[in-house]
Amino acid sequence: MTPRTWLALLAALTVAIAAVALLRRRAARTPAGREFFRHPPAAPGLAVLGFFAIVAIGARLVAPYHPAAQLDIVGLQNQAPSWAHPLGTDTFSRDTWSRLVFGARISLAVGALAMLVAVTVGSIVGAMAGYFRRWVDAVLMRTVDVGLAIPRLFLLLMIAALWEGLPLPVLVLLIGLTGWFGTSRLVRAEVLSVRERDFVAAARALGAGPARVIFRHVLPNAAAPIIVSAALGIGNVLLLEAGLSFLGIGVQPPLPSWGNMIGDGWRQLAVAPWATLFPGLAIAVVVMALNAVGDALRDALDPRREVT
């Protein structure tokens, strides 16, 4: 670690905290914002997410080494944390901190993109099922039942077996496409209740087509639970990616992800615990932050709260 990287790190931390403080002041003007920040873990949660996002984007500045650089494969393996390597080195003599920082990029991107896929598919399927009802609903919901009946890891193992060496985009798609079942049920329930409200009926009476009604009127009004489930879902994807990497079918080397850092490091757990503990902690902290923010969002966006 050079002074420059320490400085960059400090800057990232300051920016994250300042941004949250600013946001908090802004949010105080709206009831939803006040409700959000009433949760004690919400502000630190946001700060953590902001910090990791900044670090992920500015990885080059914060990381002293290239994440795949094997510094000295004989002399610098499994080094304990020190000033030069604040989180130690792994069995390939790679700097754990640098990998953690670049890993944030991959892990957070995989989490967000996979969740985006899941939420998009889930919302569309749920909206269609709830809006059209009858046979569309029956077919879609039975599909969802089947999807939920196969344990996700099992399904992923099987589908991953179809590829020989899993490219990253496919991995993201796979995680996304096996994660929308729950969302679709949620959205369907929401749509069923929104559908009967006056403004939807009015839109239909004015001759709006189903697509327009769904996207302009129904979905925006069902947005709250979708957003909350997305926030919580990213955390799940992070955990899932870690599990897949542990089984060797997650993000492929030399790209670092928090999951494959654990996957690479756990065999050395007894001699170099830092290579496994820190990425595990990183996952835990980010998922914690996502859960905290998700909880706060749930309350802030809950329409019943606004009444009281």
Partner: protein, 324 residues
Amino acid sequence: MTAWLMRRLAAAIAGVWAVVTLTFLLIHLAPGTPFLPGAERPADPAVIAELRARFGLDRPLPAQYVSYLRELVRGNLGVSFARRRPVAEALVEAIPNTLVLAGAALCIDFLLGLALGIYQAARARRAADVVLGNATLFFSSVPTFWLGLVLLLVFGQWLRWFPVGGVTDPVLYSSLPWAGKVADRLWHLALPALTLGVVGAAGTARYQRAAMLEALGQDFVRTARAKGATERRVLLRHALGNALLPFITLFGLAFPFLLTGAVLTETIFAWPGMGRLAAEAIATRDYPMVTAAALVAAVMVAAGNLLADLLLAAADPRIRVASE
């Protein structure tokens, strides 16, 4: 009621069939071939071809599917390629192990989760609540297998309080009296069950705390308080009773997850259960075993959902009316 049950049963069977078909297709289409020797011995292509022919893998896929279904209806799950024995035998050995682990994990999950949730709700926003709140937030956010690895390192290798993997002690078990056998099993069960249970309990506690707080704010609790019920009675009788209902659904959902979601925990703790069986079967392209594992999982999910529905219906008459 009977009609409703029949409809649900028919849907469940159709679902199971769909899962089996999907699994059959996926695993047969996946690249990779069964019957290979270990990774470090050169294979004799003639030996492999002979085995493929013997197990009917040289026939077209639709024909294989039809004969698989025909045997399945007769109750024949086939013979495992990798374990060289009937699939049913292997399942009969693995399922109880998984049930024990899942059951223990669920007990920890619910008992610890409920207790923590109630305690936190009773002490809402005080120091104990804040500390526990952060702790449960943390434990519900760690990767389960990572926690397992850490527990194994600390309690298995460093402190040596618990055994490193396995279901029973291979040396002592056969010579123990029955009470000792039970204790030995419990002792081996502790770490894997804690790994799964603690992560679950943290989530349950968070959920329960919120549900209790919501219940505590409602009218009937206020009424009970006004009538002079003790705080303990209010908490345990009124608030808890009301907050428990969603739990039944949660139970229906959690059970199948624990049954097969424990692949990683079972691998780390050398626990010979369904998850490990399924994962190894996929890795070795043990087709009959993979489809059988999917079948078991699907049946469990269907049964879990059905059970949860029935329990809910029993607990809350309105639901039954609504669905009829």
